[in-house]
């Protein structure tokens, strides 16, 4: 074995390298692997009480590898939930970014009374449990006829997302030196055009990051969706969870739904990452930061 020739330093690096690989597998790949396996396997793969997991599993059911996908797709109206989840998540992204971006900009650029306390209150709001938040909103939403509506769920997801997007965008705008705007003004650029030509392009990576968070928050939300939503406004997360609640646990259908839920997440991550290059903002100032 060549291992004999490794110096202690090389050994350490090798250990760290494989440790990292195991860490990535454990945190990211293992959950993905588990749901993918269950979604493609026979119902008996999943351990019943007292039983053991069958590995390797019996692949497919009724001679069809994608049997569970077929079942949720046809029997459980999965396309409807998928479309609804997308509408809810994109709606949440659009609404929360359009509301929090101007607010974050104002927090960073303008000095007004109670600015810090106001900013802090958003973060305290972030710590409130979903249950308290959802239940307290119910009566108000009921009065306004927002229960079991797409709009209602988007609104509650947006309220939940705003402290987070505000926090991210606050950091984004803080990282843009005010002299960049002033420089634009000295060249005859109006405030509005400066926003469009300077601030917008520079904050794009941060806005993308905030959008991902808002998207995932809505995409993954179960508690609030159940509380203010209804059969007409449930998303994929509620559908997946429903398979796991009650006496007849349909883990294989929940897994198939989970795999479908993974697809847009990976897609979004892949594409948005291109805008999040770390060197995007450097080079404009006397000293790089």
């Amino acid at each position: 074995m060549r291992n004999k020739h490794l110096t202690p330093k090389q050994l350490l690096i090798k250990t760290l390298f494989w440790g990292l690989i195991i860490w990535i597998c454990g945190t990211i790949l293992l959950p993905i692997f588990a749901v993918t396996m269950y979604s493609l396997a026979d119902e008996t793969t999943y351990p019943r009480s007292g039983g053991d997991m069958v590995i390797p599993p019996h692949w497919g059911q009724e001679g069809n590898l994608l049997h569970h996908f077929k079942m949720v797709w046809i029997l459980e109206d999965l396309p409807v939930y998928l479309a609804r989840s997308l509408v809810l998540a994109l709606g949440t992204v659009i609404l929360s970014i359009t509301l929090s971006a101007p607010a974050a900009y104002a927090f960073v650029r303008f000095r007004f009374p109670f600015r810090k306390i106001l900013l802090l209150s958003f973060f305290v709001f972030m710590m409130m449990p979903d249950i308290v938040f959802g239940v307290s909103l119910f009566s108000m939403f009921y009065k306004w006829g927002l229960i079991n509506t797409i709009i209602g769920v988007i609104m509650v997801h947006t309220l939940r997302a705003i402290p987070l997007t505000l926090l991210i965008l606050n950091g984004v705008f803080e990282s843009i030196p005010p002299t960049l705007e002033e420089a634009a003004f000295t060249m005859g650029t109006s405030r509005l055009r400066t926003l469009r030509k300077v601030i917008l392009p520079l904050s794009a990576p941060g806005v993308a990051a905030a959008s991902i968070y808002a998207f995932l928050l809505s995409w993954d939300d179960f508690v609030l969706t159940v509380l203010v939503g209804g059969p007409e406004s449930y998303n994929l997360a509620v559908l997946a969870s429903r398979f796991m609640i009650g006496t007849d646990v349909q883990h294989y259908r929940a897994s198939a739904t989970a795999v479908i839920m993974l697809v847009p997440v990976l897609f979004v991550n892949f594409f948005v990452q291109r805008y999040m290059k770390s060197d995007y903002l450097t080079g404009g100032m006397a000293r790089d930061f």
Partner: protein
């Protein structure tokens, strides 16, 4: 191009005046420097001229037009910021052309003017570069070109060279002077570096604590500082100050005595000292006005009544190229003097120092005003 006039301009921050009643007139095409230590209000003044800060009171005129309340984007200024403030999402060419494009200049004109700008600051060949691929000096040039292609009425620079290393700073200083000579735009330059102020400008305005201390050509403010602050601020190595110099009268002649050393008071100060009835003064002597007695050309003023020699001991010698900087002491009195590099001096040596009496400065110890301006007060 425009002349700039500031009338009674003040800026208050929570009852503290960052700028207190600033009055100045900058002629068309002039290169003027606002200089002072940090916190003196020079940048505040510049930002008010740019319209990035609004004054608490007073007004700003470009020629005869009152621009006090005109927003920055309509003032027709060009500005270079201390941190350059280039747009990191644009390359060199697009940074320089940013303002022209925003102002909807025809495409061929934008192209032509950006090209001129690139040539003016010697960035040919780097037009397509991203800013992160440029050195600090090159970024500085982009910032200069970006402001100048707008053909501003007034060109404002806020400590533009402070982020460059010493050698590059020297080079850019020359470059700035060359550009100004070529395009002759009214230029207001802010710096804390008195060397930049002296070398670049037609006129220098020295500020302290929000107030203008002195305005004048570099020669004027150097040779006739209006008060102790200006004397100490302008010039490097700085002016020596001898505190509490006692005034002694002997046969109608006045002498200064401090810590056992003694020298004559030049005649042109007599009237001020008598009128103000001063018993002590603060003396300011520039290091180059102290010389080795042995090197000195025999003074035409030399007479038995004129006492211009003081005996000191050399502590440290610092060779600075063509000259040597001597750190001298006598009791607890310390002075620095500049002598020729070929002067044969040694540490710990006693030396007779000749004071160039015609060039010493006397300040009222209480008001710190120069006695040379007594007649004008």
């Amino acid at each position: 191009m425009a002349a700039v006039t500031l009338k009674n301009l003040s800026k208050m921050y929570a009852k503290v005046a960052a700028n207190d009643n600033i009055n100045m007139k900058i002629e068309e095409g002039e290169f003027i420097t606002l200089v002072g230590p940090s916190g003196c209000g020079k940048t505040t003044t510049l930002r008010m001229i740019a319209g990035l800060l609004s004054p608490s009171s007073g007004s700003i005129f470009f020629d005869d037009e009152d621009v006090t309340h005109t927003p920055t984007q309509n003032r027709g200024i060009g500005m270079v910021f201390q941190d350059y403030a280039l747009f990191p999402h644009l390359n060199v060419w697009d940074n320089i052309g940013f303002g022209l494009k925003i102002q909807k200049y025809p495409k061929d004109q934008v192209k032509q003017r950006v090209r001129q700008g690139v040539e003016m600051v010697n960035l040919i060949g780097l037009e397509g570069r991203a800013l992160s691929e440029l050195s600090g000096g090159q970024r500085q040039r982009v910032a200069l070109a970006r402001a100048l292609v707008m053909e501003p009425r007034v060109f404002l620079l806020d400590e533009p060279l402070s982020n460059l290393d010493a050698k590059l700073r020297l080079h850019m200083r020359t470059e700035l002077k060359r550009i100004h000579k070529r395009i002759g735009v009214t230029t207001i330059y802010v710096t804390h570096d008195q060397v930049e102020a002296m070398t670049l400008s037609n006129r220098v305005i020295i500020m302290l604590d929000g107030k203008i201390q002195q305005k004048g050509t570099p020669k004027e403010v150097y040779e006739k500082p209006i008060n102790r602050f200006v004397g100490g601020f302008m010039g490097s190595p700085p002016m020596n100050f001898l505190e509490n110099c006692e005034i002694i009268r002997e046969n109608d002649h006045l002498f200064l005595v401090v810590k056992g050393i003694r020298f004559s008071v030049p005649r042109h100060f007599y009237r001020a000292i008598e009128r103000l009835n001063l018993s002590t003064v603060t003396t300011g002597i520039r290091p180059e006005d102290l010389s080795d007695r042995n090197d000195a050309v025999t003074s035409q003023y030399k007479s038995h009544m004129l006492d211009d020699t003081i005996e000191m001991t050399i502590d440290v010698i610092e060779p600075i190229g063509a000259n040597k900087l001597l750190d001298l002491y006598h009791k607890d009195l310390r002075l620095s003097a500049i002598v020729k590099a070929d002067s044969s001096v040694l540490p710990d040596q006693h030396i007779n120092i000749k004071v160039n009496l015609e060039r010493i400065h006397l300040f009222d110890p209480k008001t710190e005003e120069s006695l040379a301006y007594f007649d004008k007060l």
